[in-house]
């Protein structure tokens, strides 16, 4: 991708986002009391200023893309990925792991969730040391638990199944 097309894309996105903020998001999700005296003091003032600036930056990006003559691609651009769809699958898998972590933390407890997440990630990254990865997956969360819970006195979530001392 070249700088020109990147800026065109970002510019269009940013301008649309600014419009979305002004027309929908700010009026619906920012609340201002009815008795605000001066407009500069209103809770709405700053979000609108920012939305305006976002619009300006968006337009500037578009203008920059349209006026720049050259269209050379970035030098360090990653060319066609050799694996086809596999990277996208892995990104999706990582996203699923993260969602599962959020689901598991309050239910399974932080230590068990972390062990599973560690192992899952290590295999997702196709580690060359599977045994070491498994050992680490068990040891690292336990060590961190011991440190955070017993040295730092943090209430690490324990979950409902197996409680650690």
């Amino acid at each position: 991708m070249s700088e020109k097309s990147l800026h065109l894309r970002l510019g269009i996105f940013m301008s649309l986002f600014a419009l979305f903020l002004v027309l929908y998001a700010i009026p619906s999700f920012v609340f201002a009391p009815s008795n605000v005296g001066k407009i500069v003091l209103s809770p709405l003032f700053w979000p609108y200023v920012l939305a305006g600036l976002a619009g300006i930056v968006g337009l500037a990006l578009i203008a920059n893309a349209l006026t720049s003559a050259q269209d050379t691609p970035f030098e360090d651009e990653e060319t066609e990925h050799p694996e086809g769809a596999a990277p996208w699958m892995r990104l999706g898998a990582l996203a699923v792991i993260m969602v599962l972590v959020m689901f598991g933390l309050p239910r399974l407890g932080m230590v068990w969730t972390a062990m599973l997440a560690f192992a899952a990630c290590a295999f997702l990254f196709r580690t060359r040391h599977p045994i070491l990865a498994l050992v680490c997956a068990v040891v690292v969360p336990l060590l961190l638990y011991a440190f955070f819970a017993h040295v730092a006195g943090v209430a690490i979530p324990q979950g409902n199944l197996v409680r650690l001392p």
Binding site: F31, A32, P33, N35, A149, G153, V154, A155, R163
Partner: protein, 325 residues
């Protein structure tokens, strides 16, 4: 209506079962949530009592600061916790009487909690800069009439916010919201600094937050809201000035659990607190910071907080300070 009755019956049932099942409460460490940041008045108070309290409980107390939104984030965490006595909250005047009185949008009410104790009272003092030309509350009120008076607070819905308005209103200022300007700051330290550097005219806050400035002659106290004088504050009490109604305006720290907390758990907390507050180190540390140790049992604590809440609520409605939206 029926659903609610059913719900409360169920809750009662669960509470009873939990009560019998937990004959040996506490059998594991108890999570104590502090809804304010490290180093603040609530935090120091909580960590000071944790020492003797832990001994009385016989189990570890795990202190956890859950900060945000003027104490609301931490309070909600306890509101939604299991009412099994293993998640308790250090409730504070800001989170549990000023906030509920002022904020319509608050995600909890006083009914969502069961208070097991209030153990500390903090007198409130009002102070100005010594070179402000204000020597007494009359001077301040006269100045308000001239205009241009402002007061600082640690944020909307904090004790300081309400205190400034309440004091002015008691001293006969008709409409303190428009006659004096409220300048909120981020946190109590910044609020005191705002008076020091002349951003705001006066501040009303816990005497402990002002003690060092008063001792150093950087701020001059105008009054304290308790009936008794406060050590180190050379200023008249509210009763001296004929405003005993201001006695209600004090800070406090207490401990609360979620609403469904079983009776025997509450009773146990009553005993533990009675033992913990006898601790000599705890008393001297807290009194050195200007707190008054006053232990209330669960019933007295609930009544005390409700009464303060109602006073504040009436004032908020009268002045139109309620925050909607």
């Amino acid at each position: 209506m029926k659903l609610r009755t059913l719900g409360s019956v169920l809750a009662l049932g669960v509470g009873l079962i939990a009560g019998t099942a937990m004959a040996e409460y506490p059998e594991r460490p108890i999570n104590m949530i502090i809804p304010y940041g490290a180093g603040g008045a609530t935090d120091i108070s909580a960590r000071t009592i944790a020492e003797p309290l832990g001994t009385a409980v016989g189990q570890a107390l795990v202190m956890a600061n859950v900060t945000g939104a003027g104490g609301a984030t931490g309070s909600v965490a306890v509101q939604n916790a299991n009412p099994d006595g293993y998640t308790m909250l250090f409730a504070r005047v800001g989170s549990h009487s000023v906030n509920p009185a002022m904020k319509a949008t608050l995600p909890y009410t006083l009914d969502d909690f069961r208070f097991v104790t209030v153990y500390e009272i903090n007198p409130v003092a009002c102070a100005v800069r010594p070179d402000s030309g204000i020597d007494s509350m009359e001077d301040l009120v006269a100045k308000v009439a001239e205009g241009g008076v402002s007061y600082s607070s640690s944020g909307v819905g904090s004790l300081l916010h309400l205190a400034g308005a309440m004091v002015l209103s008691e001293f006969g200022v008709e409409d303190p919201l428009t006659q004096a300007t409220h300048i909120p700051q981020q946190g109590g330290g910044a609020a005191a600094t705002a008076v020091l550097n002349g951003t705001a005219t006066f501040i009303c806050t816990n005497s402990s937050a002002l003690a060092s400035f008063v001792a150093n002659g950087q701020l001059k106290p105008l009054m304290v809201t308790t009936a008794e004088p406060v050590v180190g504050f050379d200023a008249p009490t509210a009763n001296d000035l004929g405003k005993p109604a201001l006695n209600k305006l004090v800070g406090w720290t207490g401990i609360a659990g979620p609403d469904g907390l079983p009776d025997d758990v509450a009773a146990k907390w009553g005993e533990w607190m009675a033992a913990a507050t006898q601790d000599e180190t705890f008393r001297t540390t807290m009194e050195a910071r200007g707190s008054v140790i006053e232990l209330m049992d669960p019933e007295t604590a609930n009544a005390f907080i409700l009464e303060q809440y109602n006073t504040f609520k009436a004032l908020v409605d009268q002045l139109g300070m309620r925050i909607e939206g």
